[in-house]
């Protein structure tokens, strides 16, 4: 099982995960590939609190991209309300936050993504995740608990660790909006900006 790939609900442990993690460590993750995927998915708005993990590779180019409207919010739970409102006008939004922000916004995610099954698309930066480890094995407690929390909340997620994984983004966002359900993308390594 690769680091990116299929929607995951089951524990990610696999016999060769260490080897795969090493492969990921050597492969680049271009922010441009992720941004192209977001646009392909028809995303109009990016709602964000800055995250050091995605600052250079994603947020800065998004801020200068004329095809995307960036709304900078003060706290992550605002993004859930704004995205919900936008969805009633068929406007698609990507929520770009750090894993700490995901934890902060948990109550809003519980309500809107899980209980109300709104199309909430969460792109979550795993700041400090070690490239050679699966996130569930991270030495950082906050990183280690993200996948299990998504599992228990029933939120499908994709690991985004290299350029090839960006191909998972547009179909998943499309499905989220068509089926009115949440989805999460875990940015496992720091995207680079050419």
């Amino acid at each position: 099982m690769s680091g990116g790939g299929a929607i995951m609900h089951a524990p990610a442990a696999s016999p060769d995960k260490g080897e795969q993690a090493m492969d990921q460590a050597e492969a680049p993750l271009q922010g441009a590939a992720i941004i192209a995927a977001i646009k392909k998915a028809g995303v109009d708005y990016v709602l964000s609190v800055p995250d050091l993990h995605t600052s250079t590779g994603l947020l800065k180019p998004i801020a200068h991209d004329p095809d995307l409207k960036l709304i900078r919010v003060c706290k992550e739970d605002e993004t859930l309300g704004i995205a919900a409102g936008l969805s009633y006008g068929d406007r698609r939004a990507l929520i770009l936050i750090q894993y700490t922000g995901f934890l902060y916004a948990m109550n809003a995610i519980r309500a809107m993504a899980c209980e109300q099954s709104m199309p909430m698309c969460l792109m979550i930066g795993l700041l400090g995740k070690e490239p050679e480890k699966a996130s569930r094995d991270s030495g950082r407690f906050g990183v280690r608990i993200i996948e299990p929390l998504l599992d228990v909340m029933g939120i499908a997620f994709h690991r985004i660790a290299q350029d090839a994984d960006a191909g998972l983004i547009a179909p998943a966002i499309e499905a989220a909006y068509m089926q009115s359900k949440p989805v999460a993308f875990l940015i496992e390594r720091r995207p680079v900006h050419a």
Binding site: D77, E78, G81, I82, G85, D90, A111, Q116
Partner: protein, 187 residues
Amino acid sequence: MIDRKQAWKRLAAHITNEIVVSTYSSASDWIAEIDRPLNYFAFGAMGLASSHGLGLALAHPERRVFVLDGDGSLLMNLGTLVTIGAVAPKNFTHIVARNDTYEANGGHPIPGRDAHFAGLAREAGIAKSHRIDTLESFEALIPTLLHEDGPIFVELIIQQGELSARSYKEMYRKERRAAFKQALQNG
């Protein structure tokens, strides 16, 4: 001080095709006054009514969006004032009913009764911020709230009154959301 039910009654008399987002006690008083498909109830996490309203205002620039909020709710999401001030949607009117209590949570006092919400909104970048403490002055302001470019913020000083009956289950049911979406599509 103002009776919120009376304030909503005066506002409802002017409402046509506007989106009205409401929450908790403001919502239960509003729905008791005027139940219509273009009412949107800010479900889920307390404090986010104005965030829902901001998203709706951006998605529907052709419509005025009213947010009927409470002081306890706003305190849970004060940063929203800065976000709204920065985005500055022209079709956005945010009314905060203030009675210094968490009405929906047992009537306990908010942490600071000296807070000046209109002042906070103004300093957050919402220049058109008003503090209103009589029903007559609120009624006189309604045309402005409907037609003047926003964002507009109103701190409405209300008295503690009898709460309207409420059922969150009824407010948040899927049929209401579907009717809301249909009403938007109908134009």
